[in-house]
Subunit: 336 residues, 2 copies
């Protein structure tokens, strides 16, 4: 690898790093003329796209970094345990770095990682992340990157995900079969890979169930807990309030219980509730919460296994690797 | 500072590092003759006890490390948020390192930290930790160390804790006032600073309530969830089973609910339950769980603030600093 990186190419071409990366990978998303421009510039600057050229630098820190939005979430804390189970076996340390859903923070952390702090990266991106430039740079420096759960376009590497579309379909279908006709979908960030898939599954199930999709039933929640409570209270106070709700991330399920208690609404009588959640207390809630339980530990394990394959063998390619581990609908009282 | 460390002194003297440290600090725990031996050896080897001698090395990484047993626990995940709130302000990165309650793992992490990976350390020790040698070494290298929640003897530095004894007293006293006469105390590791304090508070409340303390009511749980379930099931199946239980750490509360459900025992009718817990779902459990809620976020904030004071001013001494932030007993249905 010369000193020319995708970032430098992108700057020269006044394109995004993602576009340059896709063009170099001959992606169908990029137009012919743009591809031509990129390839010409790459040739002119003597760019060599070799993600493992710096492999000599690798395996120095005996550390991998796990970058994720937060730990106050059962999914992420269980995924960390899966990652650590593998890392421990390999004699590696695990550094956990939290982005708190801020892409600026994420970039600062990734920038730090360029200094050689970690040999490999496992990442579940923030709800704001759209630009994979820093990740591309790490990849070019020979630091392998594996996504788990939340992924980001514009970079070709391994992804370990769950069947977000199918499990959201199943959750919605379950509510329809239980008699719901007006199902609210609580989303946190529509741009996020997992949100997109889950909304899609919701839409398809509605369509197959003969229920018209209405844009206003997608409730855009935020990361501000007080704000979410206000919003939910407003919606649940309406005359035409929903008769079913899908909390598409864990932290949105408990506020639904809270609002129902405040408003004197009965779950499941007045409102049936499903949460995407790995809460250990789900079965002991009043009423017990029906969940889409994600294979958090297994996803962490798989992502770490792929990363260590890449660290252990420079000929192992993470490119195009996708593992999909299914979630499970656990029916409990809240949808009874 | 010369090359002579407390560890080297300890080896020469065939004493533990903790004993040497205490002797140098003129602790009342160490006998006169031992103190004399230590001071003579220190003089002979030209040892200079200056924890900030290496301060030039400091503030290089713009990173602090948080070392704790696990994140699948609301206390720790909330404490991390408190720590990050301060670190963010100061422009520092936070690395979270998990020990999974293994002192061997903790030592490996601390050893890594000697390489300059972090400018300061916040730590809540494992239930196995007894030897502060690695922490003393870090301190000598000019890396300040602050304890939060779980502390370790033999090293003189700042501690941010909650009022474990008093809050355990209050919890026990509450159960007695609610009519309990046979109160089981679920403990995870009796050697741990917080366990010791909590058991002491339990004992004092029993004594003040006129109930004889019985050793067999201290239930030694482990970190093996299946093992704990078996143990609890055995105890709750006995004819003379407890009428009240205190889960002294969060992860022991949910298994009590599980066992009661399996055995058909009613909470609070057959058994009243209190958990030391920051579970966000506590109020929504069936029945709602009475908790000793710890000031997790505030403890994280305070510990980080002390650490940054030490990082910002080499004359600021962490020695003897103790902050006690009170916990709160939140009475709910499970003790009704």
């Amino acid at each position: 690898m010369g000193n020319v990186t995708i970032r430098i190419l992108a700057r020269q071409l006044q394109l995004s790093a993602a576009t340059v990366s896709k063009a170099l990978a001959d992606s169908h998303e990029i137009s012919g003329p743009t591809k031509k421009r990129v390839l010409e510039m790459a040739a002119a600057l003597n760019y060599t796209p070799n993600p493992y050229a710096s492999s000599l630098r690798r395996k120095k820190s005996k550390t991998i970094a796990v970058i994720l939005p937060e730990v106050a979430d059962s999914f992420f804390s269980q995924a960390i345990n899966g990652i650590e189970a593998i890392a421990q076996d390999k004699g590696y340390h695990v550094l956990v770095c939290l982005t708190h859903e801020r892409s600026q923070k994420e970039q600062a952390i990734l920038h730090e990682m360029l200094g050689g702090r970690a040999d490999g990266i496992l990442i579940s991106v923030t709800s704001e992340t759209s630009d994979p430039a820093c990740l591309l740079e790490l990849q070019e420096k020979g630091v392998p990157v594996v996504f788990f759960d939340r992924t980001c376009d514009g970079i070709d590497t391994a992804r370990v995900v769950t069947d977000d579309l199918q499990s959201s379909y199943k959750a919605t279908d379950h509510l329809i079969r239980q008699g719901c006709r007006k199902i609210a979908f609580l989303a946190i960030a529509e741009g996020l890979s997992i949100s997109h898939q889950r909304i899609e599954g919701y839409k398809q199930a509605l369509e197959d169930g003969g229920i018209k999709f209405s844009r206003e039933n997608i409730i855009a929640c935020t990361h501000d807990a007080a704000e979410n409570l206000r919003l939910l209270k407003k919606i649940m106070s309406r005359k035409d309030r929903p008769d079913g709700v899908i909390a598409s991330v864990e932290k949105l399920a408990v506020p639904v219980y809270q609002v129902c208690r405040e408003l004197g609404l009965n779950i499941p009588g007045d409102l049936k509730v499903i949460g995407f959640s790995n809460l250990v207390t789900a079965a002991f809630l009043q009423p017990a919460l029906t969940t889409v339980t994600q294979p958090a530990f297994e996803m962490g394990r798989s992502a770490a296994s792929l990363l260590f394959k890449a660290l252990g063998n420079k000929n192992f390619s993470l490119s195009q690797q996708v593992e999909v581990i299914p979630s499970e609908l656990q029916v409990r009282e809240s949808t009874g």
